[in-house]
Symmetry: C2
Subunit: 296 residues, 2 copies
């Protein structure tokens, strides 16, 4: 599809809406002095995803974009195939369900039985073999200017978001060149990625030339998910695991970690970087941001 | 059991071993100037957990204490019942499997089919109903002095750990009074909690009078897991979700969030706190720590 032009106010097609009703709730506790303290806290609600007649999973989510979350989840789990046509997506706010109806009839009983508990995570599960489909992956050629990388980070970090207002949440941003297109947030970092996958599927936006930015750690399943989405470049302000780096090198994904201020480290796919920015000319983040990588 | 006395050098029964072989690997990338940069990165490896003849799950873990992880995981999933006797736990480093053998014969086919994707998380899953067993929970009476809370945080935050040396990891610490007993780390924050549950089960250590400290966010499933472990107090330096707070209030768990320097907020179970410390006399953390809650 043709992406709509960005207006001057915002480069985003979808930006966070931290003030939207239902995403946060005021919770009152007592602070260290015993005085009452009221804090805006992110919501966390169940959403049960059905594929046709079959209940697939119940996701804990902040609750925005349930249709994108369902579509992206099913797509990223390999349960929605390329050929398959999505007939309808029905979200029921009261029942907290979203039903994706396709022309396919496949059931995934076997897949649902094999579980892999993933990292950074509650009891993470990737249905079926985690590496499934990776052999077939060839990521598109792409280039990323470090000047664009720096400007993306600056825009994203200063975009009003639940991350900045409430915390305890993860953000993922689909970018193209120096433009952040879609910025999704969720209590589960993979929900945010799945919402982006669902948006891409709905809007017919391909992964060519895209960069995925995440606040979360670059663990194995985050790298695998990005590769399966066909996105050639993955960047994070956080840290990474040894296996995450190993997989990125295997599949030819450009992996950039610890992107903070002028600093970053490119761990794989260096050939996609065009180093056109002078790091010394980039403002460094103040110290309160510097160690974020340790957290996520 | 009788807890061993702490020596002067360390209050811990189990402390992190950041220099232990196999937990980290040196990974080389290029920094923002294009210069090679070598970083110690945490490992992430699969561990497949069997209960008797049945394969239950494959966890992504840093790899230490596989027996505790398996025992704690099965216990926290309600797959190891109180009455059940654990006959043997066999870990195979080459096969990356750990087999827990009990005198029970139960199979969990039905349980394994129902999935709940949890927060902060890849594709998090809690087998069976997430709230299962919560109705029955009555948490033991306990008191926590804020002077102990402050000293625990200080000791834990300055303990040599993978968190401080490599980052991209979560830590959880079982504490009693002002003493941190067992400090576990893992790429998956719930693995760290499960290792502690496994240790408690193996050593016959009960939850009475214990406080659980975590670097991770206080999401619903973290609160539920702590309550099901019978631990009356849960503290974190990170943020929390509205539902996490709601559940803590329902089950009577004392929930403390955003514990940084002199600051904290008590969101539930205030009655267990003895406010014997003067917050003004406590050194505040420097700004680089202050916003950690936003990350995890």
């Amino acid at each position: 599809m043709q992406l709509p032009p960005s207006d001057d106010a915002s480069p985003y097609i979808i930006a966070p809406a931290p003030a939207a009703p239902g995403l946060t709730r005021a919770v009152t506790g007592t602070d260290q002095t015993g005085a009452p303290q009221t804090i805006d806290v992110v919501e966390e609600r169940p959403l049960t995803i059905f594929l046709n007649a079959q209940e697939i999973v119940t996701a804990m989510t902040i609750g925005d974009y349930p249709e994108y979350l369902a579509l992206g989840f099913l797509r990223n789990q390999g349960m929605l195939k390329d050929g398959e046509t999505v007939l309808r997506v029905d979200y029921d706010d009261e029942l907290e369900t979203v039903v994706v109806r396709t022309d396919g009839q496949t059931t995934y009983e076997d897949k649902l039985k094999k579980k892999t508990r993933t990292s950074g995570c509650a009891v993470g599960t990737v249905f079926g073999d985690m590496m499934e489909g990776l052999e077939g992956v060839t990521l598109p050629a792409a280039r990323l200017r470090t000047s664009h990388l720096y400007s993306l980070a600056k825009v994203i970090n200063t975009t009003p978001s639940l991350y900045l207002t409430a915390g305890a949440i993860h953000g993922t941003v689909l970018c193209e060149g120096d433009r952040p297109l879609v910025y999704m947030e969720d209590v589960g970092r993979h929900n945010a990625v799945d919402k982006i996958a669902g948006w891409m599927l709905s809007e017919g936006v391909g992964p060519e030339g895209k960069t995925l930015y995440t606040t979360g750690r670059l663990t194995s399943e985050m790298v695998i998910k990005t590769a399966l989405m066909g996105i050639p470049i993955l960047a994070s302000r956080s840290g990474f695991t040894a296996w995450g780096v190993e997989i990125a090198r295997q599949v030819g994904l450009t992996l950039i970690g610890r992107l903070r201020g002028r600093r970053f480290v490119c761990l794989a796919g260096e050939e996609r970087l065009i180093r056109d920015a002078d790091p010394a000319a980039v403002a460094d983040e103040d110290s309160k941001h510097r160690r974020k990588g340790a957290e996520t």
